[in-house]
Point group: C2
Chain length 411, copies 2
């Protein structure tokens, strides 16, 4: 296919804005946490679009939804997908773009009356963000056999609610079992969420894989006591231990150097009162590295530093793994196809790993998988000011379209 039908950028941007209105925050950006009322409203909107496009919709037992456009042959579909849940301070593009780009491709095929050999499916996967329930990539993880269904349904979120209950509550506990979705291949368009493409002035990232992700929750237990009367030497302050763990995470990342990153995103004290020595602290550490050996080193060092800090303060510390995904490599054939498509369309392209986790990484072990990145303004994501310009989006969708169509067989 040298030239082909053109996507309608305005139509795509219109859908992005409409979905962005669901859970819109007063100051801009979106809050549509997985399985919340807002997530339900967003799902309903996208399912309506799927139906209007004639897709055959399936919902599975973890709330993943995909709509299939039949091909000439009744084979496994080329799946284009991502997620529509957001973090609490999210933007309009993260995840949403990959799903709505899929719908835009389907609508363009419909309008042009193009039949493909393989079916083309568009899907969105439950709780990719991991913001309300850990781990991230929950829906795609269950769908592709990386996570256990029963354990996942029992997961308790930051607000004390359970995944299974919330799925039923919003009406998205479907019938299809894990592994019901068997793609021929999986393609995901996503905003980079980092600074590289913008800094280098390159339109397209051909993503080679996803770095390893390690989330650990540390629970420190000390003894609550009076802030005014308890001599420093007699304290067992869970908060001080937690602060030491947080700074050790930073120290490890600095010492290891790029691509090691370390983030303490959540940090809570009990009873959290100004004049009470904290009896309990719960904090999370997110460690990532493309090199699994280095990642394991970082985990080991952090754990022993945490145990040492707790012991010195006369506290105890318990560790719980919230997420642990090894680094993943994408399909060389598809990565090369993305490079070629970008070049043919006249876009600058570079290979790059992904710093963020993505649904694609859950599909990669089971089928040829790859991702297309487009630039993020100022490298911002998980921030209400996340932004990618319409023409940058067009470039990404065009590349995705070309690769998907070649894979699905439009000739």
């Amino acid at each position: 296919m040298a030239t082909g039908p053109c996507i309608d950028l305005d139509r795509l941007m219109g859908r992005l804005r409409a979905l962005g209105d669901v859970g819109a925050l007063p100051g801009g950006g979106v809050k549509r946490l997985a399985l919340s009322d807002e997530d339900k409203a967003g799902r309903d909107l996208v399912c309506g679009w799927m139906r209007a496009l004639g897709l055959e919709i399936t919902t599975d037992c973890i709330g993943n939804v995909w709509g299939v456009r039949r091909g000439r042959e009744d084979t496994a579909p080329v799946v284009i997908g991502s997620h529509i849940d957001t973090v609490a301070t999210g933007g309009l593009y993260d995840g949403n773009l990959g799903v709505l780009a899929g719908l835009e491709i389907v609508e363009t095929l419909n309008d042009a009356g193009i039949e493909t050999r393989r079916p083309v499916a568009v899907g969105f996967f439950t709780n990719e963000e991991g913001a309300r329930f850990a781990p991230d990539m929950m829906g795609s993880g269950v769908a592709q056999g990386a996570l256990d269904l029963a354990q996942t349904l029992a997961t308790v979120g930051i607000d004390g609610q359970r995944v299974g209950d919330e799925l039923r509550r919003i009406g998205y506990a479907g019938d299809a079992p894990p592994l019901a979705l068997k793609p021929d291949s999986f393609l995901e368009l996503h905003v980079e969420q980092g600074p590289v493409l913008e800094r280098e002035g390159i339109a397209i990232g051909a993503v080679t894989g996803v770095q390893g992700i390690s989330w650990t929750e540390f629970t420190v237990t000390g003894v609550s006591n009076h802030a005014g009367t308890t001599p420093m030497a007699m304290r067992h302050d869970a908060g001080v231990v937690a602060a030491r763990i947080a700074l050790e995470a930073r120290t490890i990342a600095d010492a290891f150097g790029p691509p090691q990153v370390a983030t303490v995103g959540s940090f809570r004290l009990e009873p959290d009162l100004v004049n009470v020595v904290p009896q309990k602290a719960v904090l999370t550490v997110d460690l990532r590295n493309t090199d699994n050996v280095r990642l394991i080193e970082a985990e080991t060092r952090l754990r022993s530093a945490a145990r040492k800090a707790a012991a010195e303060e006369g506290c105890t510390v318990e560790l719980r793994s919230l997420a642990r995904f090894d680094p993943v490599e994408f399909d060389e054939g598809l990565v090369a196809a993305i490079e070629t498509a970008a070049a043919e369309l006249g876009h600058g392209v570079r290979r790059m790993p992904s710093g963020a986790g993505h649904d694609a990484q859950m599909f990669a072990p089971n089928c040829p998988t790859a991702m297309v990145f487009v630039p993020s303004k100022n490298g911002l994501s998980h921030n209400i000011n996340e932004y990618t310009a319409p023409e940058e989006i067009r470039a990404g969708v065009d590349v995705l379209f070309r690769v998907a169509l070649a894979r699905a067989g439009a000739d």
Copy 2:
């Protein structure tokens, strides 16, 4: 008075247990935050007892309540008082003991038919703990002119509610203006809340004064971003700055040595999600010292360390004073009277400063004031395991009774 009427320890312990049942926690201890439903229930209970004892009750505009037992002369009363609010993980004794000891003394006087020259009043003062609303000693501070009424009524608590609204909601917004309570003298019996008396095997502390208290809230503002894609060098992580401030507080206390103490009791991140670099952190630091010059040094050093940490991370930091009370000295005559009474009753006694803030410190500038301490098991307080044995309580009430009666004039 060489010998006098005896208090009824069982009756006092019964009242302590009954009040402790109001807001009792499942695992023991009490949660009766100021102006909560539980506080209202506790207040109603104590007011019922006051009425049954024939006390004339006054409620002032900040919700302080006192009940007066008339004397032969219509002069200023000897006030025995403390507070009945607790922290979120409180015990049965902190505050409650001082109020119920007052009622026990009144009932003993009633039973024995003893008339005093001056009136004797028993009071409880709103939000001494400062756990829900800052500052601590709020009610006694307003009553004695140390805090502004209008500003205090507008104070927003940790749950977003206002003092004035909550006072009206629970029906304790009274008519009496600030300074309506003009004591002849103020006496407060309290658990030590620290380890000194127990360690030294001494029954009675004759409290010489209260150390200076400084509460500061630090609000750090950074930039939220993606935990996986944001290189360490590009981060503006509000949580890292907050952790540095927390550890600097500990470092200052260690460097200054006793009696300097420093506590980070509250620490919150926004958005508080595992894979989002925090855009905001709010933490409190509680600094105390008997020496105001040293306390100011500690405050200054902490502030400049906070500004430096914020600048290094490309964040900003704002400071808000939540409470600032200079050290206070109690009345030498009353302190000596407590020593004498303890000795006459055969109890070991030592002079000591108070590490905790107390309502008495708000009265000290306006009238002769002093406090009696009794031991705290394992030095624990603001902890559900706070404990003082009945016989230790009896010793404290006996000393208080003797000093109060001498002051009120029972001859």
